[in-house]
Symmetry: C2
Subunit: 510 residues, 2 copies
């Protein structure tokens, strides 16, 4: 794979100096165009030590305007990072739309080094590469331009390079013992790199192998590749925008399709027994029981560092707020955070739609309650047409992948759909107008949403079908009786936590 990067290609100083000013002007100009663009540029550098990763990143910072570039390199994770899923730190560092992010090895570092040093086996490596593919795919699907450069050196060239760095007192410190250790493992490093590149070089995030021996050659390749990729991507995004606008325009012209026979089939929601209630003493006792269980379990969870993420979705007026309050009431206020999900902020809009959820993932032992969530994409955004059909169809997989990362990290996850019947909703809407401190809750939007009951019901059905997994199951809650719903939610959370703590306990003993 790397033979073509050991040909000793060079560019003379004269040739480089002749091309440099023009190329630089173009890159600066493109950077200005990017500032208005609707996507970030993510450039990753990996490769053989001494093949010019640092120098190239420094050059990009020098040539381009460093104000619109962020450079990210990673050492061992901080404790705040260790307490979250591995990719949390990459998500929080992603450049917003219009900016360029330069990443040093980053999410490729551990998969590569752990395999080379024998800490993982080939199957584990493949699993980690699969994670990378998913990560880059979801960024690219939202528009990100992703470029990856593998800076290559032959073993001989690497030795020469390290020696020459060591000779110069100004650069000697750059060469560490680890560099030489890696040099010794060159063959294993290269064969792992081959596997890595083969598995993760995709149309949406291609690897470019760069011969790194000659600084001018490698700089020219990176700069030229970058320039062309940005030009192409800017054009592509324009084209995509046009197509999407056309699709939207056509959809508007059309009359809404008659609900098909399939749409009128019973949905998973219609199978719920909505008559269940829980009243009086029975309710009070059940509530107290679950409160006590939760209080105890969350004390243990805090001690053991087991986090919980709870998702609440449901019809307007289904009682999400009240249910959340009864639940959090059993907890210590210092341990939980309720995150109301409304319209994204400006900083959030400049990022991938999952970014704003990643940023709320809490440290070990905490409870995060999402009052509405990332499911907005396949609910309101789908039904209201706020995103393209392609985007919400893709979202099921992205969401499952996201939740999988949370649960794989040991986070306990429960997702609730609070269901009420259309009649019950109407009654509650009418009642709201009458209770002073509940008036603010009822908005015109609530009435508009109500008119789309059918499409929402269909969306809920599909959401449960596609995103209810063993580790992050959906619980459908019969919420015509608020009491019944509250106790069911609390019991479900307690059960899930109990099971997880049992596991966590066992894991420790092993």
């Amino acid at each position: 794979m790397f033979e073509a990067a050991e040909l000793g290609r060079k560019i003379s100083r004269e040739d480089f100096d002749a091309m440099a000013p023009g190329l630089r002007t173009e890159l600066l100009d493109l950077q200005q165009q990017l500032r208005e663009a609707d996507f970030p540029v993510i450039i990753l550098f990996a490769g053989v030590d001494g093949a010019g990763k640092n120098e190239t990143v420094n050059l990009l910072n020098e040539w381009m305007d460093p104000r619109w570039i962020v450079t990210r390199a990673y050492g061992p994770p901080s404790d705040e990072e260790r307490e979250r899923p591995e990719y949390w730190r990459y998500w929080r560092d992603l450049p917003p739309k219009g900016k360029v992010g330069l990443f040093m090895s980053s999410w490729y570092h551990h998969p590569l080094i752990n395999r080379v040093t024998g800490k993982t086996n080939p199957a584990e490596l493949d699993e980690q590469l699969e994670r990378i593919v998913h990560f880059e795919k979801t960024l690219a699907d939202e528009g990100a331009l992703i470029l990856k450069f593998w800076m290559h050196l032959s073993q001989k060239a690497q030795k020469k390079r390290l020696k020459s760095l060591e000779k110069d007192p100004l650069t000697a410190w750059q060469v560490t013992k680890q560099d030489w250790e890696h040099w010794e493992m060159y063959d294993s490093f290269i064969s792992t790199a081959e596997r890595l590149i083969m598995h993760t070089s995709k149309g949406h995030a291609p690897w470019q192998i760069v011969e790194g021996a000659d600084p001018r050659y490698r700089s020219a390749v990176v700069l030229q590749t970058l320039k062309e990729a940005i030009v192409k991507h800017l054009a592509n995004r324009e084209a995509v925008k046009k197509v999407n606008a056309e699709i939207k325009g056509k959809a508007k012209g059309k009359k809404a399709a008659e609900p098909s026979v399939l749409a009128t089939q019973p949905s998973i929601l219609s199978s719920l027994d909505m008559t269940q209630t829980l009243e009086g003493a029975e309710y009070n006792q059940a509530l107290q029981e679950q409160r006590a269980r939760l209080a105890h379990l969350y004390h243990v969870a805090r001690e053991k560092g087991v986090s919980t993420a709870l998702v609440f979705e449901g019809w307007d007026a289904a009682g999400k707020g009240g249910t959340i309050r009864r639940l959090t009431n059993a907890l210590n206020a210092r341990d939980y955070q309720v995150i109301p999900i409304a319209a994204p902020t400006e900083e959030e809009r400049a990022q991938h739609y999952l970014w704003r959820f990643w940023r709320h993932i809490a440290r070990a032992g905490r409870v995060t309650v999402f009052d509405r969530s990332w499911y907005g994409r396949v609910l309101v955004e789908r039904v209201e047409g706020f995103c393209t059909e392609e985007a919400w169809r893709r979202a099921y997989g992205e969401i499952v992948d996201f939740e999988e990362q949370l649960t794989a990290h040991g986070i306990v996850m429960c997702k609730f759909w609070l269901h009420i019947t259309a009649e019950e909703q109407l009654e509650r809407f009418n009642a709201r107008g009458e209770i002073e401190y509940k008036k603010w809750k009822l908005t015109d939007e609530d009435w508009r949403n109500r008119e789309k009951w059918g499409p929402y019901e269909q969306a809920v059905n599909e959401l449960v079908e596609k995103t209810s997994t063993t580790n992050a199951p959906w619980t459908l809650v019969e919420a015509n009786s608020k009491n019944f719903a509250r106790v069911k939610v609390m019991r479900t959370v307690a059960d899930a936590l109990e099971a997880a703590l049992g596991k966590a306990g066992r894991r420790k003993k092993d």
Copy 2:
């Protein structure tokens, strides 16, 4: 001080139940009003263990809408927190405008406990309390409503309370060994608390001492106090807005005052020798020398965890960007971050004006370069009237305090004003239009700013006078010669870092 909080005051269940629904409605209603308000509410709870801090915070979360409340409690700092000044974690947790933040002990915890356990002496305690006063003052000055509740119990009542918690298996876990240890130190705790409350109870952030023995009484006091404070603050802010609008209106009507005799006196800028240059071989040699010094010094700084914060201000076209690039060019791109300061984002606008700078304070060993900075408040915001005169006059002290926290934490700080003459600026503006890749840099705003040269010069003069401190000095850079400016900046940074590393080295040996 606490005698009045040991009177055994109680509220009967009937009385409480009679007042509760009305109070709750009012609080929920106020919360809705707050969402549109231009200030955050910061409520802090401290006091004797067992006096109901947790319960009260839980109650507030239960009664009010938890979606617009954040609750913050602090354990030992994470490593990301330890690598920054102490208050970084409080700044990052501040609620935005329209939200309520409930803080458990927080910035009061360490001053109190460290004094009680003898880790600090009275003078050190006072210093820490002074820091608190500054912190709360700057938040209040920007509009925050700050309330602090000291939950009190007599030693006898505390014992009773701890015993009763221990008896109930559901709450026994809440009582720790530390609680009993603190109980033993009750007298010392109380006398320290007195000092703390006396020093930090200010008009803008008053302490309210609450008798904590009776849950209903203490809840009623907190809820009632909170309600009244919010009502009053909402009204106050409206009044302030009106007054400011009037002042602004009057200022608009008036003709600009003739520059006074004082304003035409030579400023600190006019004393600079603007003829200094550095050309050809001399420049190249000096540049290479400083580059090498910086590269070496920053390698050591990274190893030792010494961070640097560099501030660049200056006239438009003074060469900030080019100077920053020459400087960062000597560094490893992974170790520095250039932060361009432009208009604040929506999330930043919802916070204290210093918040957006606190969020960029880097971890240990990193370099943060601010291309424009918090000095915007006393430069552009002052000159353009974007903030009130009272606000920018106050800002000098706030800025010195902010920088003092950074340098006290060991961060090396240099601040540069890049100065060019008005004639030089004109020449550069004209030249910019001609160089292809510099065209984008020249905006209409640049021409407008140029017309206000006089007021800006006055502002710069005052800024240097009021904010150049030993640990965070201003360096005025004669920048008519770009070469001269670049080398001067690099040398200044290298000198400062060398001095700091010398100190850091000595400190380690001590």
